[in-house]
Subunit: 421 residues, 2 copies
């Protein structure tokens, strides 16, 4: 195994060295004589498709949500802390290269070696690719064991998410020691990122589960229109927006006085695979769908209001004095007293058909970033799980939590604050 790791490390090391010298290029390029014939990108949609990897925060959190997702969770195979650290260096270098729109590896691939890059993103630009890396609770403690001497550095906020009412979690869609969230406006570019990081981890970590997501279900920037989820409702109208930097500091980023210090500038990611029972939902009356959500289906306005962004008044009454919004409507329980806010960044998914029932295996892959899940996701989801009218039509089938450390400084790597002391 060590032999393989060495070869990989060398290959990637070479790739990184080359990347720094050629960041100006747009589009994945291998430096070969055939390069000039690479096809133009058929799916390029953005004039500035490159998001920086290095910075105070990791990319893919306040980056305006891209259209497509490939998310993967990994189990570590190694018992050697330095190998985990090495993997994070390898991943960070590769992520920076791919986010710059470049192929992994530098110079011609020798014919008698595997290509450093798998190649399916050649001819595409980065299309705003972001790679976000996170650490699960089991990186710190697995079955009570301090695997890597990191147990005392586990953040208190990196809890094991408690069971919620109605949970039907599948172990094979839950948990993980590490995660990679790859987002891009091109699904093949996002796939390419996860696939190549998986490949670079060979012998060190194995993919535990992965999820493809299409069409973002939340806006994270004021420049983005509110998308619709697969229930046909606008989703995330009241989501936090990246432009509100004071709210980001308050609700999303781990603050400069928080513990542990290695998480300062980071954020906690909670992922939930929420299966929608679309066949039942589609049989429900419009009025009941709107009662369940608490919004009008077409406009997205709160019930009784006209426009999507009208303020939500949970105490509004109709002319007969009846509440306009049911006390267990999704909107009301999600808002609560307004004190809990999270940055949602989810996607629609479908994984084909359930061969027993003929129902679509589809729904919402929920992702949210927050400063402290104990004070945000957990109380929020607890009240939703207990009383949300929507529960009749959804089931949570996967769950995971990850501590996403701050961004890497130029030449550094994601996780350096944890692994260097």
């Amino acid at each position: 195994m060590s032999k393989q790791i060495t070869r990989r490390s060398l290959l990637v090391g070479a790739g990184v060295a080359g990347a720094g010298a050629a960041l100006a290029g747009g589009g994945y390029m291998l430096k070969t004589t055939q390069d000039a014939t690479a096809a133009p990108d058929p799916a390029a949609k953005n004039s500035n498709p490159v998001i920086p990897f290095y910075g105070v925060h990791q990319p893919g959190i306040v980056t305006p949500a891209q259209e497509h997702l490939h998310f993967a969770a990994f189990d570590l195979l190694t018992n050697d802390r330095m190998q985990v650290r090495g993997l994070l260096q390898i991943w960070s270098n590769a992520a920076a290269t791919m986010m710059a729109g470049q192929a992994l590896g530098a110079g011609d691939t020798p014919p008698h070696a595997p290509p450093a890059d798998t190649g399916e993103a050649l001819g595409h630009t980065a299309e705003r690719l972001t790679v976000t890396i996170g650490f699960g609770p089991t990186l710190f403690t697995l079955n009570g064991k301090d695997r890597y001497g990191l147990a005392d550095r586990r953040p208190e906020a990196l809890i094991d998410i408690p069971p919620m009412a109605g949970d039907a979690l599948q172990p094979e869609r839950s948990g993980g020691d590490l995660c990679v969230q790859a987002c891009s406006d091109n699904p093949q570019v996002a796939f390419h990122a996860v696939r190549n990081l998986t490949r670079l981890a060979r012998g060190l970590a194995v993919m535990r589960w992965s999820q493809l997501g299409f069409n973002r279900t939340a806006s994270t920037s004021k420049g983005q229109a509110t998308p619709r989820n697969l229930m046909g409702f606008k989703d995330g109208t009241n989501n936090l927006k990246a432009e509100d930097t004071d709210l980001m500091d308050k609700h999303v980023w781990v603050g400069s006085n928080s513990q542990p210090d290695w998480m300062r500038g980071g954020s906690y990611l909670v992922a939930r695979r929420i299966r929608m029972h679309l066949e039942s939902w589609d049989r429900d009356y419009l009025a009941d769908q709107e009662r369940v959500i608490g919004r009008h289906k077409i406009s997205g306005a709160p019930l009784g209001s006209k426009n999507e962004f009208d303020p939500v008044n949970l105490n509004a009454k109709d002319k007969d004095g009846a509440p306009l919004i049911d006390q267990n409507a999704h909107i009301g329980l999600a808002i609560g007293d307004g004190s809990i806010k999270i940055l949602r960044r989810g996607y629609s998914f479908t994984d084909g058909t359930n061969s027993q029932t003929g129902e679509l295996e589809a729904g919402l892959f929920f992702i949210a970033f927050q400063r402290d899940p104990r004070a945000q996701f957990v109380p929020l989801q607890t009240r939703l799980a207990q009383n949300d009218l929507l529960n009749e039509y959804i089931t949570h089938t996967g769950s995971a939590i990850f501590a996403c450390p701050p961004g890497a400084s130029q030449g550094g790597f994601v996780g350096e604050t944890l692994f260097t002391r």
Copy 2:
């Protein structure tokens, strides 16, 4: 059951009546007072996003391949031929409406009825949505039984695809009485089409399997660059192109003298879910990958040539007299003597992770249209299955064949030529 069907039929009937009156509108719209607040399409990419549904041929065959696919196969539940005919009328009307970028249903949805449209495509344009409908062998004969009095109209070309070397077909990913191929440049629009057609079939047909595809793996028009599949190679360089109408008539469309007459202007669709063993592929040397495919990875040029579209000379030798292209390379077996041509229209897919192995469940969802599978797909795939070097890295896990009848005339429906006599 009949009660439910009646209600559905009425709902759709209303939708279709409304659709004709308002085809000029761009973007899915429900005629409600909230309509004016609908968000602009965040993903619109095309200035002319509407493909006509009605015509000599069905759409989605020679339409320049869109970026995304949602494919579904259905099993019929009814024993009543007139109900099958009715379903095809319903589907055709709904497909025409959705392809025009409109929501199903006309006028306000009554509050105490399910919405006629599920809503997730609201705010999007059609983004070149096409819906293509096909008939599987089991529509004609199931377990030796003439289900609908159609057995004598089964085309001889609509064979049961014979077993191929290396097949590992899963019944739950194969076959089907009917199919719907929905393609769009927006995956949510394609999903919406399949989901709403599935819903309209309730009580008549149930989804047997479905497949989401991202990033087309073939060009079908001279205006499109050749895309790369997940092996990182350009795929479909020598594909038929829609502009070559004489080749379309020769290889794709059922001719005006062919039998049965109801298929004239139609085409036969073969779908194969081809899982790629990406982990093994990624360990293979570049030189061997290129030997397996018979092309250079970066340029797509035939081995020994410089440019993608250089002619393929299977007899070319290097300076030492050794063949440049292995006799069992994919390219050579696919081309053969050049007499067999098909119109490929496939997509990449990934359905997450195999929880036993940690491998990506990913590959190519192969779709091809042709005039006669007996003379095209079957001999082609037989020689590939037997000798293709690529077989070390792929497994066919699903298979289906469908007769796609000619296009519907205005006011008619797909399948009218079969069901009206």
